[in-house]
């Protein structure tokens, strides 16, 4: 290899590299870590389990950091992170469903126990809230929907993504997103009405006879 005249010493490129890494690190913290609450919520909805949600979010950030260079600046970082999380969830879920024996549950348990020991307060609090959420009727109604409907309602109504972003996340055309939202909300409405009737409420969408 012919040596280039302007590259006299080796530490210089090393320094620029680490400087680059520093900038990347800073950008990542500014852009990505701020969405951690939204990601955790989404993971909770998907997994229905605080430990799994914790795990999923952690893996998502690890992957996101590795591939942060491929993130298009100026686009929605939250949408990008959600997509990574969703893909991660699908891969994990499929893997576990296929080879349940190969998952090292003890290792996972130990890992979470070590976290819980130091953060028992906040973790207990979260589990408690989750339990009460499970009894929440709106949450129940939402969860009773078929996955394809539940998903678009979550992404649209809870997370506030645009149709274009949702279409990209669920890998379907915008027209499909539209019709899933339409049918999902209709179904959700009827489930909510069932709860209301159980409480003796007249469902308010019906005008006087």
């Amino acid at each position: 290899m012919p040596s280039s005249p302007h590259k006299k010493d080796t530490p210089e490129p090393k320094n620029t590299l680490s400087e680059k890494e520093k900038i990347k690190h800073q950008e990542f913290q500014n852009e990505a870590v701020g969405h951690i609450n939204a990601l955790y919520n989404y993971a909770l909805h998907l997994t229905m389990n605080p430990d799994d949600a914790h795990d999923l979010v952690q893996e998502t950030y690890l992957k996101a950091y590795k591939f942060f260079d491929s993130f298009e600046k100026g686009t929605n970082c939250k949408a990008w992170l959600f997509k990574i999380l969703k893909n991660n969830y699908i891969n994990k879920f499929r893997k576990n469903a296929r080879e349940p024996g190969k998952v090292d549950y003890d290792l996972i348990k130990d890992f979470y126990h070590s976290i819980k020991d130091t953060q028992s307060d906040s973790d207990d609090l979260n589990a408690g809230y989750l339990r009460s959420l499970m009894h929440d009727e709106v949450y129940q109604a939402l969860n009773s929907l078929p996955e394809e409907f539940k998903e678009v309602i979550q992404l649209c109504d809870i997370e506030g993504f645009t149709y274009e972003e949702i279409a990209n996340m669920v890998e379907s055309p915008i027209g499909t997103v539209r019709s899933r939202l339409y049918r999902g909300r209709k179904l959700l409405r009827s489930r909510l009405n069932e709860f209301a009737k159980k409480h003796g409420y007249n469902t308010d969408d019906e005008e006087a006879p």
């Binding site: 609450n37 976290i115 959420l133 109504d157 809870i158 539209r178 339409y182």
Partner: protein
């Protein structure tokens, strides 16, 4: 679609022929503010004259607002935040 008359001179004529099936296709996008200006006009015209689609639209709006109000949002546990911060500090 019965909008394909060759005589249509402007969008209003085209839009005014929107039927219930077409309105339902646009229903969710109307709730979420995702309609184009043209679609919005046509949709509004339709529900102004169709009580079935009007009440369906109102119901869909209500359903969305119930979800937004009633679904509890959690904060990520501090342990998770810490481990994510640590993760991105040590991976390079």
């Amino acid at each position: 679609m019965e909008v394909s008359f060759s005589r249509t001179r402007n969008t209003y004529e085209l839009i005014s022929t929107m039927n219930c099936t077409q309105a339902r296709t646009l229903m969710s996008a109307a709730v979420d503010g995702e309609l184009t200006l043209k679609e919005q006009e046509g949709f509004e015209q339709h529900i102004a004259g169709c009580s079935t689609c009007f009440s369906e639209f109102k119901e869909a709006q209500k359903t969305k607002s119930i979800i937004r109000e009633k679904i509890i949002r959690f904060k990520a546990p501090q342990s998770l935040i810490n481990s994510v911060l640590k993760l991105t500090e040590t991976t390079f």
